[in-house]
């Protein structure tokens, strides 16, 4: 019994190894074709091809014989995965859910779940993100191990689960892969959990990180900036200045840091010091919000330093700059309303450059994209822009499909015209050939059966040659003839007949094995020809069938497809307009908000310039008054001296 079990196990193991080897060598070319497109980030073609392959697979009578059978789980999973990449997370969520219950490796499943959770998190759907991230179990790919932990903590923060976030982030805070991010998020989690003191300490710690990584340095700057402004709110400008000074001058937060640094000096009434960072800032790109604000700050500081003339000149320059920027913004809004922004962003040649969106400003009649920097970086705008590109791609595809179906209809008509008169003639010829073929095949089967039976019950007479049969027939006739003859020499004749009969029978019996082997060989040869005949027959039947099918039964499906394409085309066109309109509206709203801010600054500048001129004039008048007074005093003094000198 035990031995039998062991034998069974060995058999099962060897069978599974064989199966595994067999599978690995048999790739499914059509599935891998889908992967070829996916690896090039062409997810539309990847999905549609794998979808078509899956559709064919499920339509098969014996799908287990198809090579896709061995990759079915992978294919089903890949569809969901690629839909996720194609930003169809509503559908991909369902697909991935289905696949999570299927037989796919943990690492693959978890990688997809991570990406899905990230999408939900970016789209500000914290509950969905939490639900997805909690489904991650088992082995996680090494490359996302810490990113996953960080994402999990961020999702906890979004769901106000601060203690969970704190505990998780405390564990990974010092991990180099997420350095900076974990530390900064830990500070946010502390503040969210009403542990403000701890939060500030943590921000301070983040602000002192040392790293060569630009992204980490940006997080470090951000922590210092947040802390600096927090201290400004708490009226601790001297301390705030320390944090603003930690921020790099070439980093993304440098302008806000320079602005904050100046305000910290002003708050501490150190106007001379404030002029230094603000002068640096005032020379930067005017589209930057901090630069626009400092154009007011700098003359304010000079004013406090009693340099009213300089302040008045700077206020005048600020007014001019604001006026220019408002004109620029108005032109940008006008260009967007005229559709030039959308026209520019779909230009293929620009997309090849990484900074293509920013470079749009070099094109004539396009909006000033520097003003849209913040908006461009926002997830909503990015997603809307990607949707716009996808819709543009779909619209182009649908336009190209329009022509396909018309050519298919033409092809079908031409085929029908060609095949219809040929069919009756061909059918008649086929009928004759078919009956002849069936007869011959029946004969072959009969011979085959007979030979098979002869293996069990030998029948040498069946293998007699033609001349032997003829001779035997002659002998039988002679035997019959001389059977009733009573002549004297009959005995001699009968003896000869018997001898002849015996010789033939001897030959038949002794050569039986040799003849049987030869007959078997001949049958095998015949089988080869029969197989070829059957192949030709099947090929013909299939060709006839495909010829018939090449023009029959397509009308409905083509009509339905045409309708589907038409309806989808209309829908895509409308969505394209709506998505474009949304992008335009986002951009216009952003530009209007910036315009409004500049207008506010402009009003302040107008008041300040008047005030500064007043003060400058007043100072000038005071100076002149002082000078006049001094002159009068001097003159009086001189007169007195002269009078003393001319005394008699």
């Amino acid at each position: 019994m035990f031995q039998r079990v062991i034998t069974s196990i060995i058999f099962i193991l060897s069978a599974s190894v064989f199966a595994a080897n067999g599978n690995s060598s048999k790739t499914d070319l059509f599935f891998n074709e889908g992967l070829y497109y996916a690896y090039q980030e062409n997810y539309f073609d990847a999905i549609s091809r794998i979808d078509a392959e899956l559709g064919q697979y499920y339509g098969l009578d014996e799908p287990e014989l198809n090579s896709l059978h061995f990759y079915l789980n992978n294919a089903e999973f890949s569809i969901g995965d690629f839909e996720l990449y194609y930003r169809m997370h509503n559908r991909a969520g369902r697909a991935i859910k289905a696949v999570l219950e299927g037989d796919v490796e943990d690492t693959i499943k978890n990688d997809a779940a991570y990406r899905l959770a990230k999408i939900y998190h970016q789209k500000q759907q914290p509950e969905n993100a939490l639900h997805t991230i909690q489904r991650i179990k088992g082995e996680v790919p090494e490359n996302i191990k810490y990113d996953l932990e960080l994402l999990k903590a961020q999702i906890f923060i979004s769901n106000k689960m601060f203690p969970e976030a704190i505990s998780l982030l405390s564990e990974i805070e010092n991990t180099s892969a997420v350095a900076g991010y974990a530390s900064y998020n830990l500070a946010i989690a502390y503040i969210g959990n009403n542990q403000v003191e701890k939060g500030i300490i943590q921000l301070d710690k983040t602000g002192e990180l040392s790293s060569g990584d630009k992204a980490v340095l940006a997080v470090k700057d951000k922590a210092n900036l947040v802390l600096g402004y927090k201290l400004m709110e708490n009226k601790k400008p001297t301390l705030a200045k320390k944090y603003f000074e930690r921020i790099r001058l070439n980093g993304p937060f440098s302008s806000r840091a320079l602005l904050g640094s100046g305000w910290a000096d002003v708050a501490a009434e150190k106007y001379k010091q404030a002029v230094v960072p603000w002068t640096i800032l005032s020379k930067r790109n005017i589209t930057n919000q901090s630069v626009q604000e400092v154009l007011l700050g700098l003359p304010f500081a000079y004013g406090k330093l009693e340099a009213h003339g300089k302040a008045a000149i700077l206020y005048g320059k600020a007014l001019e700059a604001y006026s220019n920027e408002i004109n620029k913004l108005d032109n940008s809004i006008k260009n967007i309303l005229e559709g030039k922004f959308l026209e520019a962003i779909v230009r293929e040649e620009f997309k090849k450059d990484k900074n293509w969106l920013i470079n749009l400003r070099n094109l004539p009649d396009t909006p000033e994209t520097h003003y849209l920097m913040q908006l461009l970086a926002s997830n909503d705008f990015q997603e809307s822009l990607k949707n716009y590109f996808d819709l543009d791609g779909l619209a182009k595809k649908i336009t190209s499909w329009d022509g396909y179906l018309d050519s298919y209809t033409e092809l079908i008509t031409a085929r029908k015209k060609y095949y219809t008169p040929l069919f009756p003639v061909m059918q008649e010829k086929f009928r004759l050939l078919d009956s002849r073929m069936k007869l011959r095949l029946a004969q072959r089967n009969k011979i085959g059966d007979r030979l098979h039976k002869m293996l069990i019950a030998p029948r040498p007479d069946y293998l007699a040659k033609v001349d032997e049969r003829l001779a035997l027939n002659k002998i039988y006739r002679l035997e019959k003839k001389y059977a009733k003859d009573s002549a004297a020499n009959v005995n001699g004749i009968n003896a000869r007949i018997s001898r002849l009969k015996g010789v033939i029978q001897w030959n038949i019996d002794t050569e039986y094995q040799q003849r049987f082997t030869e007959a078997d060989k001949n049958l095998a040869l015949l089988n080869e020809h029969v197989n070829e005949l059957e192949n030709n027959y099947r090929s013909f039947v299939r060709t006839r069938q495909s010829a018939t099918q090449s023009f029959v039964g397509y009308d409905d499906s083509i009509r339905q497809l045409k309708n589907k394409i038409k309806f989808a085309g209309e829908k895509v066109d409308l969505l394209l307009i709506r998505q474009g309109h949304m992008l335009e509206l986002m951009s216009i709203n952003e530009l209007k908000a910036r315009r409004k801010r500049i207008e506010e600054l402009q009003i302040k500048a107008r008041f300040s310039v008047a005030e500064s001129y007043d003060r400058a004039v007043k100072a000038q008048q005071n100076k002149e008054l002082e000078r006049a007074k001094e002159k009068v005093l001097k003159n009086n003094k001189d007169n007195k001296t002269d009078l003393k000198g001319t005394k008699p």
């Binding site: 070319l29 549609s48 091809r49 996808d390 209309e570 969505l575 509206l585």
Partner: protein
């Protein structure tokens, strides 16, 4: 006051529209167009998250529809243009762990040039990662056919070279799939028939 008046007008407009929809149920496409326009016309200057999300969902839906049409078209094209009894498809792949970089490939079937492709960096990368490119799909009669492959490319650290190979493929009753593997040790071009 003005806002509430606008809202009432909008509700009234939708009610009339719904009645009209019932009457005009035959013209579904037109109705769909109008329904899709409603939110656009009502879109205020400020965009809400719901509006962005709603549009995003509609985009996802249309992607799903267009993908389904594309898959259907693929099947129809294959059935109509390349019936299984005459269908032949030639695929290009790169042998696993090979250092070969193809620049261009040309395929001839029975001395007739049927396909030519120049590879981009992205395409070579996709092939190296296990992707398979369907370079040609066409129709041939059953029986033996001559397949000629000309390849220009180079292995890492080697100079560019041209290689030509000829094979005979046998087309049976079913669809013929030929996988051309590039970068195999020794022969550089290998074919697998299915």
């Amino acid at each position: 006051m003005i806002a509430s008046f606008d809202r009432e007008r909008l509700i009234g407009f939708i009610a009339i529209l719904l009645i009209w929809i019932r009457i005009m149920s035959k013209f579904r496409a037109v109705i769909a167009v109008i329904i899709m326009w409603i939110p656009l016309s009502c879109m205020s200057e400020q965009l809400s998250r719901e509006q962005i999300k709603g549009l995003d969902e509609q985009v996802q839906e249309i992607k799903k529809d267009v993908l389904a049409i594309s898959a259907e078209l693929n099947l129809l094209e294959e059935k109509l243009l390349y019936p299984s009894n005459t269908q032949v498809s030639i695929f290009i792949s790169i042998v696993k762990n090979s250092h070969y970089n193809p620049d261009a490939v040309q395929i001839k079937v029975d001395n007739k040039k049927v396909a030519y492709h120049i590879y981009s960096f992205k395409e070579v990368d996709a092939l190296r990662r296990g992707g398979v490119q369907r370079i040609y799909t066409g129709n041939i009669r059953s029986g033996g056919h001559k397949l000629e492959i000309s390849l220009i490319g180079k292995a890492d650290g080697e100079s560019k070279s041209t290689k030509k190979s000829s094979f005979t493929i046998n087309k049976g009753i079913g669809p013929k799939l030929v996988e051309v593997s590039l970068g195999a040790n020794g022969s550089l071009i290998e074919i697998k028939e299915r």
